[in-house]
């Protein structure tokens, strides 16, 4: 029974299935739930981004009150690709704030026309061209993506100075870079073809139709007349197929199991960071935490 630590430790693997502009799907395997969940939690709450945190109003006679507008501004995602170049205000060497730890944005809109003027995220002017509202990026010039802040009527004016700071989702949800960060277990679905063959064509069709997410496929016109698994990843473990099989009196028609060491992750970005960056940052943060613990253990602090 003399196993070394390195033999006990598993080597987690990460396989990317799909990367889009705003989402990533990858498989994390050969590891434990705790690791998968840690990754998920860090992606939501601990990957830092830039967000408006302080707002100084100079003028606001719009219909919305100051706090409400400030809150809305805070929730506008800002491009945080160079987040590493900023430090937290609390760690910064400056006394109040400086360019190292914050970015100033300005909003200065007055409605002079007779029709309502929509103030949107595109009216926010940043002093740092790298930290701008996500919707103002060149890649997304689509005006539908602009985030409305307030509507002004003739004579109404809004003039303010907003200061964006670095922060994490733990502190306030606005700093969370991910809209969705979740995983599911890899399902193992085994069909008992013998049992399926016992079914009539109509029953087969009914059984395949019982799955709300269409995991199985069957076409009576197919030459093979076989029920096949189209996409096991679609399975949400609703066990509708199992229930249907039981109603036919064939509980062993299908076998469903979750593979406990293989996780399919889906991460969607708010736009502040690229989805793959969220994952990378998260891994980096976990590593740093572990190193911290290691260091402290070595020092005998733990």
């Amino acid at each position: 029974m003399s196993q070394t630590v390195s033999q006990l430790t598993r080597q987690p693997e990460l396989e990317i299935l799909e990367i889009k502009n705003d989402s990533i799907i990858f498989i994390l395997s050969n590891t434990d739930i705790s690791v998968a969940n840690a990754l998920r939690r860090v992606m939501i709450a601990e990957v830092p981004t830039m967000c408006i945190d302080l707002v100084e109003f100079e003028s606001n006679n719009s219909v919305l009150c100051d706090e409400f507008i400030a809150h809305r501004l805070g929730l506008i995602p800002l491009v945080s690709d160079n987040i590493d170049k900023f430090c937290y205000t609390r760690d910064c060497s400056c006394s109040d704030r400086c360019d190292q730890c914050s970015v100033e944005l300005r909003l200065n809109v007055k409605c002079t026309e007779n029709r309502p003027r929509d103030v949107t995220s595109s009216d926010l002017l940043s002093q740092n061209s790298a930290v701008i509202p996500v919707s103002s990026q060149v890649t997304s010039s689509n005006s539908e993506q602009e985030i409305p802040i307030v509507k002004l009527r003739r004579g109404q004016e809004i003039k303010l100075r907003a200061i964006a700071k670095k922060g994490v989702g733990k502190e306030h949800a606005k700093w969370s870079p991910s809209c969705v960060a979740t995983y599911q277990f890899q399902p193992i679905i085994v069909l008992n073809q013998n049992r399926i063959d016992e079914l009539t064509d109509q029953q087969k069709e009914e059984w395949v139709g019982s799955c709300p997410t269409k995991v199985y496929s069957y076409s009576p016109h197919q030459s093979t007349q076989q029920v096949t698994i189209e996409d096991p990843l679609r399975c949400v473990y609703c066990l509708e197929c199992k229930k249907k099989a039981e109603s036919f009196g064939k509980p062993d028609l299908v076998h469903l199991e979750q593979k406990q060491d293989k996780f399919i992750f889906t991460v969607e970005s708010s736009g502040a960071l690229k989805p793959e960056d969220i994952v990378l940052y998260a891994i980096q943060i976990i590593k740093r935490k572990l190193t911290d613990i290691q260091g402290q253990m070595a020092e005998g602090m733990l």
Partner: protein, 1130 residues
């Protein structure tokens, strides 16, 4: 403009329009002259004119239009000048005539006319006299009103006041009753009686009771100057018609000679009244007049007959001017009374809507006006006569004296403002109402639903709230479709404060509706043409014939079979609405002849008066909507849904099965799936929701206004939500909800909110408060109107951060408790005075409005002495705030739980709200489960879901319908989902019910309720801590709390709480006599305080003991009743 929304408030507006357009004239026409003698000449005074204008405001002797919002913002009353004229007459022979015709006082020419200013009368917003009437939504917004402003309320001192609807006995309909109290009215009086509330065209009323006396006689009771009088019915019959006893006998018995019970009694009552030997009508009138003469103010020249007539005109069946009609009605009432006593019919249930109608603002206005006019004349008379007693003025001419008095007399309109401001009715006669207070309530704009509900609420009467029996609170089957069975508060006013169903309407008076007026004259001949025997042509008495009455006037008789046919025909014609003699709003009540014990007295009663309840149902014969009343409904066959229709029996069908609900009850989704009390709770809670009360926030100065940010339309809604424009005033937010017992923070109706959801704005809101700061308040008269805001010491006072140079606070600034608030200049020495912000909660200054008084012409910015500051308080959810779904499921926020720890579904969804599954089994709010299911399906498919009640049944269940939609989107059809723990990442063993539910934030917030005390004020007498949150008092440590400490044996704690932390005191006691009262302290030669017992003359015997201070109070109190208390001190 939403017509549906308008219809909800219409009764209030209609009634006020009735008052302004017709009521004033009717009251004036009816107003009685007041007689008095001066220099041995008989005079009389009476009102000859009353004139109401539209609301105005006075600016430097100029009247300009006053708009409601100006009154609201300045905290004044929305009122209009009310003027009148009083005529002085010398009494002439026309007054003294008594030929029985109505005297038309308007035909006489007064010797003098005096213009009188009656003050300013509060006007109902959006009534015809209001400037907002008929305005388009754009214009309304220009006038700083809501786009959907409906009016129906008054503005008194800046508050919006509603005159709440009040249940009244149905007008002009004899009601058979048993009332125990009646036995005390005199010897032989029984509990049996018939009561009739007679309503004049001006809506003022007099109630007459016909009492049954043991020996078989009947007497009619009426009130005159709050005193009751009884007239024997047979005597009254003779006074009403020159008739014979034989005729009276025949009229009552109607050929039913076999009925010895009836004949015996009629004979007896006729015989009893024979004693006085007064037989002819004139003799009887003379007799009545002579009896009442002493109590009246008529000049001596008036004959007794005239006075007798006056009494009958004023107090007997006042809805019928014609004596023959009065006679016939009295006969009918006697018949009904004998039928009830003889067991032929039962009593009527006065608590049922079948015998009820409504009292509205305009009607009360008319009643008050009528009474105040009389009081005005009376006080004028007494002041005039008094002024002549003064020797200096005794030589004055009468018109001059009168003019002087009139200028000084009270202002009638002020009485209306008082009535609206307090809800109290100060009346000399009681105006035939059962209560004197509680008529008006503030129309609270907490949210739209609460506001609108004020106009639909109808109260049974304050008198009934004190009754011990619960019978009046019962939900009557008769109230189906008229009063909402769901929408009533639980607790004290349960069943007394009801709400009208959403499509129940209130009829208008004939004066307002020409078709009704026309029909009233056409109807008798129309009925006669269709089988009715007109009453004056009935010669063959047939007691089984049905009596046909119209608004309490006996029209004729009809053979029972023909009567039934006639009713059918009348209803058909009413539904078609094209027969001029049958108005749409006529109630056709038909009580068929029956052998059932305690059945209703048979007959056909037609009603065309105003203030009755009506509601639409579909007539199956004509296929048209037909309005029906609550009394006729009892005998109608109305199906609720089409499959209930029985051929040949069913005549009508409901417009919708949800028609029986009020507006609010109709908004509860899937209310048919809930246990019924939960729907009641929801009606309560909807009215406590922090919602959107209005959109014109900048123009409102309400004491307190709530606002919730990020409100949404509910995904799951009912049809009424659109019909009544409720989506324009949303009051909640669609929350993702998981029903799971997760952390323990969801126990006992607590709910967990996702911290990130909160941070993204869930339930965020604010409270607005307005503070009026009037510098003149509390100042001496010398200083008033000379004190102004200002800040001359700008350089030295170091207030630049807090206060602007004009002495007013900065708009937009966050002000903290104790900070400087405003400065003003004291006129006495010209110095600057700074006042601090007294509030206990930090607030933003939303705006500061400057109020110039009524003489606001001098708009000098340096002379501001009255301002209104609007403060905005941040009220984002904190732990302890209250939330609820729309199913009576309220809960308290117990924890803002970090998102990463929240359970999540396969797709990564995390709930906004977690509630405990234990909230469901005992409460059985299945509707909420269905709503969550429907909400989830709706959210996925991007559509709103219809949740109107009664659309699903056993064959077509809601679960199947919405489950199908869920399955289509790849979800479990029962709404369950596999979830993972956010903390461990592991899968939960069971599936979790997960979906979308509309959540409301309730107004109960910790910030308004928390109470803490360390040190603070104490009661001067007992030195114990005072109570009350506002004054920083403590929370009572009561008897039960004390008991629990005793039970624990926690004696130190007990001593600490009840003595040390309360009124601990050290007092001196004399060891010899044991008294604490005899000890006096004085200074000795070395100026040291020495105590001495005065009774023992000893200073050595003094000891100091620790006791609760109240003990000294007890000792003193006992000493006052001659009891000494001695303490044994060792």
């Amino acid at each position: 403009m939403s017509e549906e929304l308008k219809s909800l408030i219409q009764p209030h507006i209609d009634s006020f329009d009735f008052f302004t357009d017709h009521g004033i004239d009717l009251v004036l026409k009816d107003s009685e002259p007041l007689y008095f003698e001066h220099n041995s000449t008989q005079y009389k005074i009476r009102f000859t004119d009353l004139k109401l204008s539209r609301p105005t405001r006075n600016i430097v002797e100029k009247e300009i239009k006053l708009y409601p919002n100006e009154s609201r913002e300045t905290g004044t009353t929305y009122n209009a000048p009310f003027k009148g004229a009083i005529g002085l007459y010398e009494v002439n022979e026309m007054d003294e005539m008594d030929d029985g015709t109505e005297v038309d006082y308007n035909k006489q020419e007064p010797t003098h006319t005096f213009e009188v200013d009656l003050g300013r009368l509060p006007i109902m917003v959006k009534s015809r006299y209001c400037h907002l009437n008929g305005m388009s939504p754009e214009k309304l917004i220009e006038s700083r009103e809501e786009e959907l402003e409906q009016g129906g309320y008054f503005i008194v001192n800046g508050n919006e006041k509603v005159v709440r609807m009040l249940v009244m006995t149905k007008a002009n309909h004899p009601v058979a009753l048993h009332r125990k109290a009646w036995t005390n009215r005199g010897p032989g009086y029984t509990k049996n009686g018939i009561t009739i509330r007679c309503v004049r065209p001006d809506r003022s009323s007099i109630t007459n009771n016909l009492h049954y006396i043991n020996d078989g006689q009947t007497t009619l009771r009426f009130l005159y100057r709050r005193q009751e009088f009884f007239l024997p019915a047979t005597l009254l019959l003779k006074a009403l018609k020159d008739t014979t006893e034989k005729e009276i006998y025949e009229n009552i018995v109607q050929g039913d000679n076999e009925n010895t019970f009836l004949t015996d009694r009629v004979e007896l009552s006729l015989r009893e009244q024979k004693i006085n030997n007064i037989n002819t009508q004139e003799e009887v009138l003379d007799y009545i007049g002579s009896r009442f003469r002493a109590r009246t103010q008529f000049p001596p020249s008036f004959s007794n007959i005239k006075i007798g007539r006056w009494f009958i005109n004023q107090f007997v069946f006042v809805h019928l001017p014609n004596y023959n009609d009065k006679y016939n009605l009295l006969i009918l009432m006697i018949q009904k009374l004998y039928a009830m006593v003889g067991g032929k019919c039962g009593t009527d249930n006065i608590d049922s809507p079948a015998f009820q109608e409504v009292l509205l603002a305009g009607h009360i206005y008319g009643m008050i006006l009528k009474e105040k006019l009389t009081e005005y004349l009376e006080s004028t008379k007494s002041f005039v006569l008094k002024s002549f007693e003064d020797k200096k003025k005794s030589g004055d001419k009468l018109p001059d004296a009168l003019k002087k008095v009139l200028d000084k007399n009270f202002k009638i309109a002020d009485r209306f403002s008082y009535f609206l401001a307090t809800g109290n009715l100060r009346s000399s006669s009681g105006i035939d109402l059962q209560q004197t207070s509680g008529f008006c309530v503030i129309a609270d704009k907490l949210n739209f639903l609460r506001f609108i509900s004020h106009f639909r609420s109808i109260h049974r009467g304050a008198f009934f709230a004190t009754m011990k029996t619960t019978a009046i609170r019962k939900l009557m089957p008769e109230s189906w479709g008229f009063f909402c069975p769901v929408h009533t508060p639980d607790g004290a006013p349960c069943g007394l404060l009801n709400h009208l169903s959403s499509n129940c309407l209130v009829t208008v008076d004939a004066a307002q509706d020409p078709t009704v007026q026309k029909a009233q004259t056409l109807l008798p001949s129309f009925l006669a043409a269709h089988g009715m025997l007109p009453i004056d042509m009935v010669s063959v008495y047939q007691h089984q014939y049905l009596t046909i009455t119209l608004d309490g006037r006996v029209l004729g008789k009809i053979e029972p079979k023909a009567g039934e046919e006639m009713v059918k025909m009348l209803r058909y014609l009413r539904s078609m609405g094209n027969e001029p003699s049958i108005p749409k709003t006529m109630e056709i009540s038909y009580a068929p002849p029956t052998n059932v014990e305690n059945g209703q007295y048979s007959g056909i009663s037609l009603f065309t008066t105003g203030a009755r309840f009506m509601r639409p149902v579909v007539n199956l014969t004509s296929g048209q909507n037909e309005l029906i009343g609550p009394q006729e409904q009892l005998y109608m066959e109305i199906a609720v849904v089409p499959h209930e229709v029985i051929k040949g029996v069913t005549t009508h069908i409901e417009t919708s099965p949800t028609a029986m609900f009020s507006l609010l009850a109709n908004l509860t989704p899937f209310s048919d799936y809930n246990q019924s009390p939960r729907n009641m709770y929801q009606c309560q809670m909807a009215k406590q929701t922090m919602g959107t009360p209005l959109h014109s926030y900048p123009f409102r100065t309400d004491n307190k206004l709530y606002k919730v940010q990020n409100v949404q339309k509910p995904i799951v809604h009912t049809k009424n939500q659109f019909k009544f424009r409720c989506n324009d005033y949303p009051h909640g937010c669609n929350a993702v909800i998981a029903v799971i017992s997760n952390t323990g923070y969801d126990m006992e109706d607590a709910m967990i909110i996702n911290k990130s959801a909160y941070e993204r704005g869930f339930g965020h809101g604010s409270v607005y408060k307005n503070e009026y700061i009037d510098l003149d308040q509390g100042l001496s008269r010398f200083e008033q109107k000379k004190t102004f805001f200002g800040r001359p010491n700008t350089v030295v006072d170091e207030l630049d951060k807090f206060i602007d140079t004009d002495g007013l606070p900065f708009v937009g600034r966050l002000i903290k408790p104790g900070e400087p608030y405003y400065t003003y200049i004291r006129p006495s020495d010209g110095r600057q005075v700074t006042k601090d912000y007294k509030g206990k909660e930090e607030a933003y200054i939303e705006d500061v409005r400057i109020i110039f008084g009524p003489n606001g012409a001098t708009r000098d910015p340096s002379k501001i002495n009255n301002i209104c500051v609007k403060l905005r308080f941040n009220r984002n959810p904190v732990i302890g705030d209250k939330f609820s779904s729309r199913h009576g499921q309220k809960g308290v926020l117990s924890q803002l739980w970090p998102e990463i720890n929240m359970p999540f579904t396969e797709s990564g969804m995390k709930p906004d709200v977690i509630i405990n599954p234990n909230a469901f089994p005992s409460r059985m709010t299945i509707g909420m489960l269905v709503e969550i299911l429907a909400g989830k399906a709706g959210a996925i498919h991007g559509k709103f879901q219809d949740a109107t009640a009664f659309q699903f049944d056993e064959n077509n269940t809601a679960i199947d319908f919405f489950g199908e939609q869920l399955a289509k989107a790849g979800f479990n059809r029962f709404g369950n989902e596999q979830m993972y723990s956010g903390t461990t990442g592991k899968e939960f063993e069971c599936e979790i019910f997960f979906g979308v539910c509309y959540y409301q934030r309730l107004r109960h917030m910790v910030k308004d309720k928390y109470q803490v005390r360390a040190l603070g004020k104490v009661n001067a007498l007992t030195r114990q801590p005072i109570k009350g949150r506002k004054v920083g008092g403590g929370i009572r440590f009561g008897e039960m709390e004390r008991d629990s400490l005793l039970a624990h044996g926690a004696s130190f704690c007990l001593n600490d709480r009840l003595m040390k932390s309360s009124d601990f005191a050290k007092i001196k006691v004399c060891k010899l006599c044991g008294s604490t009262l005899t000890i006096y302290s004085k200074k000795d030669y070395s100026n040291q305080t020495v105590s001495e017992c005065k009774s023992c003359k000893s200073s050595d015997s003094i000891a100091t003991i620790s006791i609760p201070y109240v003990f000294t109070y007890l000792v003193a109190e006992l000493a006052a009743v001659n009891i000494t208390m001695k303490l044994q001190v060792s």
